[in-house]
């Protein structure tokens, strides 16, 4: 009996040390995991927020009891990609707000780092462009990390289910920032159309190049 116990201990020790060996090998290929952005995944419930709008009033998702969902758009004044999408963000609101999916735009940048993204400049842009949707400033920069937004523009489409705002799509508006006339994939529209039709969203996450969010805490 003692011999068996000793044998078991020996086997366990060998197994454990082997495990440790494997574990201690340098993880060169895995270093990328350290920077994996945190935030919402598809199917997660998005928390509500309370941010100041360009009319100086506070806006929350709870202010929209009749909405069926939201097109949350992290965007800003200064980024050329955001500028390229200004009209298309307005078009999304024009098309989908009346169908229950309004655009809520949020500027995530620290105006101390990018003065063009300050509240006064946001007010000017919204007025010049004739924005029909809220354009909120994430003043404390607490909302964008919660969503996991990393760049502008960055879209999160939410769907209201049993009073909860469920994340259904994360990514780009379409597949051609440079030329709206040569867009062949309308990711955001396809996602909202699927929600309206009650069908599955075919492409739930996409990627596009964007301007990194300017936050002094990210500076090394």
């Amino acid at each position: 009996m003692k011999k068996i116990t000793l044998l078991l201990i020996a086997i366990t020790a060998v197994a454990l040390s082997a495990f440790k060996l494997v574990d201690s090998t340098p993880k060169i290929a895995n270093t990328t995991e350290d920077v994996a952005p945190k935030g919402y995944a598809i199917g997660d419930e998005a928390s509500d927020f309370n941010l100041k709008n360009i009319d100086d009033k506070m806006v929350s998702l709870a202010n929209y009891p009749n909405a069926k969902g939201f097109i949350i758009t992290f965007t800003c004044n200064h980024c050329p990609y955001a500028v390229a999408y200004e009209q298309r963000i307005m078009d999304l609101d024009a098309k989908y707000a009346s169908l229950g999916y309004p655009v809520i735009a949020i500027s995530p940048n620290d105006p101390a780092l990018v003065p063009e993204d300050g509240m006064d400049e946001m007010k000017k842009l919204a007025s010049t462009k004739g924005y029909t949707f809220p354009y909120l400033l994430d003043e404390k920069q607490e909302v964008y990390p919660l969503f996991g937004a990393t760049k502008t523009p960055h879209i999160f489409i939410l769907h209201k289910e049993n009073g909860k705002n469920i994340v259904k799509y994360i990514g780009a508006i379409d597949n051609n920032y440079a030329n709206p006339d040569d867009v062949t994939e309308r990711y955001a529209e396809d996602a909202v159309n699927a929600l309206i039709a009650g069908t599955d969203i075919k492409v739930t996450t996409t990627k596009a190049i964007g301007c990194s969010i300017k936050d002094s805490r990210n500076k090394k």
Binding site: I28, A29, T31, T32, E33, V35, A36, P37, C79, P80, V114, T150, K151, G171, A172, N175, N176, Y177, A178, N179, D182, T184, E185, Y187, T206, K207, A208, I209, G210, C211, S212, I213, K214, N218, K219, K220
Partner: protein
């Protein structure tokens, strides 16, 4: 006779310097072409930096990249490649001006493959959200490291030292 030798020597010297001073590449490529350039089986460490003229953190870090690159090139199997994500039509204007302004003598490719971003961003690295700057390190077609965000001169040097 001495004069002839001198002329021959000067000729040889000038042709030798001429050969080493190959002008850096400046060209538009799609992702498949870029992949062939950066994933070569030649034992070289490729440092590939994605940037754009409009990207402030990119322009902030580029001088460090140029400096580190000149310290390593010709001393080690090493090549730095800068990949601009500017609009294709800006290659000879905005991009060229920035190359001059920052004294960049590395190969610069403009990645003109807009409509396939959703494909190639993940192909470069599955964790890359698409924000720039971003830097990826390859050797013999193997990806060794990826960083989304700025790298300091010290961080860049440390990663190169680790993988040379």
């Amino acid at each position: 006779m001495k004069l002839n030798a001198l002329i021959a020597f000067v000729f040889l010297l000038s042709s030798a310097t001429h050969r080493t001073a190959i002008p850096p590449v400046r060209a538009s490529v799609n992702y498949d072409q870029l992949k062939e350039i950066i994933e070569k089986n030649d034992n070289k460490l490729y440092v590939v930096n994605f940037w754009a003229t409009w990207c402030r953190p990119c322009i902030e870090e580029l001088p460090h990249f140029v400096e580190v690159s000149s310290a390593y090139e010709n001393q080690a199997p090493f090549q730095m490649i800068l990949v601009s994500l500017d609009k294709a039509e800006l290659l000879e204007t905005d991009v060229a001006q920035m190359i001059t302004k920052l004294h960049i003598d590395n190969d610069v490719y403009l990645l003109d493959d807009n409509k396939r971003m959703n494909y190639w961003i993940s192909a470069v690295d599955s964790t890359w959200s698409g924000a720039i700057p971003a830097t990826v390190f390859y050797k013999n077609g193997q990806k060794l490291h990826f960083t989304e965000g700025q790298l300091t001169k010290e961080e860049l040097t440390a990663i190169i030292q680790q993988h040379l």
